[in-house]
Symmetry: C2
Subunit: 549 residues, 2 copies
């Protein structure tokens, strides 16, 4: 007997399962432990414990009509559903639901690339289309369309966008939700709705103009539970003619201020792609205990102390990889301009010429790292070519130190795109993690990620284990302590696994939680039986509101 959704009698669950089978066929309703196990989160922080977020069953519809039938059946018996696209949201929850016992609606069978427009640079995809699928469809048709993908590429444009995921090319492209144009969703009442121009039957511009007329409700479908998204349009881009790289380093700790101001200028002027900050000084860490002690010191560090350490090692403190996409001569002009702009802030910045070649890249161009100070950046993702490189980097073996063997979760606070915020975040998290007593990679050389166009994310990861509950306990404790510590400084998470979504939303408390109350009032109106992904995005329907962590 599988676990049951809370508040659903076994008889009702069985009856709902029958209706699911009628809707999608018996082969596509999964209730055996063996099948349901596939929908557990392999990176769960409660693996095997009584509160692990395990579904009761899964159902895999083949089309929109079947999704509607599943939703109607769930409404009839008040069975909570949890829709997933490809379910590859590792480190942020995988395919597992917010509410233990929910029925996963696995949309992988709906995997058609419905539209690809090479003149208007758009696509329309179903949930089960992965970045690999989309890339392959473009290549097969010989189109010069450019996509922006995260790494690994087995996730779906839809699932990634709906969890506010990111990529690695130009600023506006990297915001995957912000790059969508047009949503079709099955609502909790079983109706099909389209946003934007999609609400106009036969509109030829569904993927071109996002708003249609009236309010734009698309935002309600990201990190939330207002519908099961069945189609989603995206803006793609023209394949650039050419690609160029360059590297800059700046000598002193405080030079990060000018460096960030310069890259903000360059990026907001569309002159560069994703900037990648790093620290050349990191490579001295292994052989210098005194440097290691300095950069992990609690209570903050001084500019002078780090500057002296850098000078002793004859290394600059910070680096930034720059990337240029466009016509060859434009890239060259933009690189020259970038050097001048950065030097106007940091006169003794050093510049290193990178490569320049035609797009798409070939052979070694695909794999070269950018700079003499390897930043760990996977080259393919900067070209918009899906791969699994990040995944293979974090797929551990038995030889790895135990805590990192099985998996990890991301703790991902958004901080302002300023040097002051970076220095403060380094100090706060170094201190907090020392106090909590958890090993981490946060130190005074950690640089933030520039995924977002206008803000930094200052990511820390914590290990998860399938065999050692103590590792998971420590991770849970660390994250639950860090969330309010970040919030004291105004840093909130942009994304997190279901187990922590309530805690994250708890910190978004302006106006005595007026946003959460607003969301829940909307949720109750849209989904009175609370059947769609209860708890997702910290939004609990009336029926389950008492379950808030």
């Amino acid at each position: 007997m599988p676990i049951l959704p809370p508040g659903v009698a076994a008889r009702d669950f069985t009856a709902a399962t029958r209706l699911f089978e009628e809707a999608v066929g018996r082969d596509w309703v999964f209730t055996s432990d063996e099948d349901v196990n596939l929908y557990r989160d392999a990176f769960s922080t409660s693996w095997g414990e009584p509160d692990e977020l395990i579904p009761s069953a899964a159902v895999a519809p083949a089309n929109v009509e079947q999704v509607q039938a599943v939703v109607r059946a769930a409404n009839r018996y008040k069975v909570p559903l949890f829709p997933i696209a490809t379910g590859k949201n590792f480190a942020y929850g995988g395919p597992a639901p917010n509410l233990r016992g929910s029925v996963v609606v696995d949309l992988k069978r709906m995997n058609r690339v419905l539209e690809l427009d090479a003149d208007r640079y758009t696509c329309l995809v179903e949930p089960g289309v992965s970045y690999f699928d989309l890339y392959r469809a473009i290549q097969e048709r010989g189109l010069k369309l450019w996509i922006d993908n995260p790494s690994p590429g087995w996730g779906s444009p839809m699932g990634n966008a709906l969890d506010h995921g990111i990529g690695h090319t130009m600023g506006r492209h990297r915001d995957h939700f912000g790059s969508h144009c047009g949503i079709e969703a099955v609502l909790a009442n079983g109706e099909v709705m389209r946003t934007g121009m999609g609400a106009m039957p036969n509109a030829g511009s569904w993927q071109d103009y996002p708003y249609g007329y009236g309010p734009d409700v698309a935002g309600l479908f990201g990190q939330a539970n207002f519908g099961i998204v069945t189609k989603m349009g995206f803006w793609l881009y023209p394949q650039p003619e050419s690609y160029r790289t360059g590297l800059v380093t700046v000598p002193r700790r405080r030079d990060l201020d000018g460096l960030i101001k310069a890259i903000n200028y360059l990026e907001q002027s569309y002159l560069i792609g994703e900037p990648i900050l790093g620290s050349p000084l990191r490579r001295a860490l292994a052989k210098s205990p005194s440097l290691r002690a300095l950069v992990t010191k609690t209570g903050g560090i001084t500019d002078a102390a780090l500057d002296k350490a850098a000078s002793d090692e004859n290394l600059h403190v910070w680096s930034c990889d720059l990337q240029f996409y466009g016509p060859e001569r434009t890239n060259k002009a933009n690189w020259e301009f970038s050097k001048a702009k950065i030097a106007s802030f940091v006169p003794d910045a050093k510049f290193y010429e990178g490569e320049s070649f035609a797009m798409p890249p070939k052979g070694d161009q695909l794999n070269n790292t950018i700079s003499p100070f390897p930043s760990g950046v996977q080259r393919r993702q900067t070209f918009g070519i899906p791969d699994l490189a990040v995944w293979s980097n974090i797929s551990r073996t038995d030889a790895d130190p135990e805590p990192w063997r099985d998996g990890h979760i991301g703790f991902s606070p958004v901080i302002p795109r300023t040097a002051d915020a970076v220095f403060k975040a380094q100090e706060v998290f170094v201190d907090a993690l020392a106090e909590i007593g958890v090993q981490s990679r946060v130190n005074h050389l950690q640089t933030p990620l520039c995924w977002f166009q206008r803000a930094f994310v200052f990511i820390t990861t914590f290990p998860t284990s399938k065999t050692n509950p103590e590792i998971n306990r420590k991770t849970r404790e660390a994250v639950k302590k860090l969330i309010p510590i970040g919030a004291q400084h105004g840093w909130g998470e942009y994304r997190c696994p279901p187990a922590f979504q309530d805690a994250v939303v708890e910190a978004y408390s302006f106006g005595g939680h007026s946003l959460r109350r607003f969301n829940e009032a909307m949720k109750d109106a849209a989904d009175p039986n609370g059947i769609l992904a209860p708890g997702r995005g910290g939004i609990w329907p009336k029926r389950y509101r008492g379950r808030r962590a």
Copy 2:
């Protein structure tokens, strides 16, 4: 005695007015005809008629707390409110409400530029801040921040964005709602809510990262009635170093296809600013009755006929003004690249060098038109400098032909960014307007506007009159007939005056109007008494739902 909101007894209205006076002071509650007249829509299509959308009163709060008090008073007596920022939405309704008798909440006193960040290129403004105000605040502080404004510039960034308004620089900037980052709104229950990172108290990144955590509800505040927006953040941009123009013309009607494909490539690659399509052949219209007859011919025209006419006049059929913003050498490289790209589609395209100068422009640079074929583009708006040029162009005198003396409204359907859509729209609207029997400027040389980054808008204007009801009757009839005609082809309006919003939304009918039902379910949950802008965006609260046109 002023008119009353429907369903509100005189006694309740008086009691509410008292509470408004307590909230904002007697001087800021307006009930006299003289005062209330200022909130009529000067471009109303029902001027002086019994169904003109006239408010009953106006109230002007000075701060958020006063807005909250006004909302609470309105809730107590169920008085419908209609918030305006600067109320300058001429041609799309001005300051007048959707529901006759609503009380205008005039937010002009809340006019502070609260934040201007020259390192992160953002601002936070109150409703009453105009584009002039914002521009002036930037200049006074000597900041190199670039804004994107519509013309005229007396409207507000907030009001313009909330009605999905547009500007005239780079593609993403021109989408003013899409360029916002962070909303504060007073909800119908009187609570204050902030979206995105603003829901995190003391977040330093409210204007930097739009989503925060959970669903993005910001879209509900555009073209709708889910709250009174009291603060709004925007992404601004670095002032570009330099500006350059160039002009291209293509000889044949069908060359529009290649021209549009080329500008789509250039714009989606961030290489150009707003492209401005035109037709050099237009200047032959005045002296060629046969050309005029051809371009206004019903039943469509052939390529051959228009090509022969162009050839007879020794003129090319289409033109496009190109604009470049960036470092000087980048602009030069992008112009050279643009010529090559366009020529790859239309080998006998002709190119004309424009100007190139440093930003900000000075002297004559501010006023020169771009090209030898004047497109009517106001130069200042392409620099992000607010002016009133468009306004002075359409401020008529008694010497003007009567129909255009008083005002006009815009009929603004979104069409795909393709030549086929342009030819079809020309044909459909030429035929429709001939059939309706209304004079218009639509003809087979009309080019669409490239305001949106990915779609065209194919605008027609119709006159309004304060003295001749027949002109208004004809305009109403034309618009009401054109809306469903456009919808047959999948073309929906992006914006329209209150008098036509129900008709526009009626055409966004996918799924048996599932989007409208969803919006109204949300509305009823957020605003059970239906006090906020009933009817705005075609969304009628339960209480007034029977009033849908």
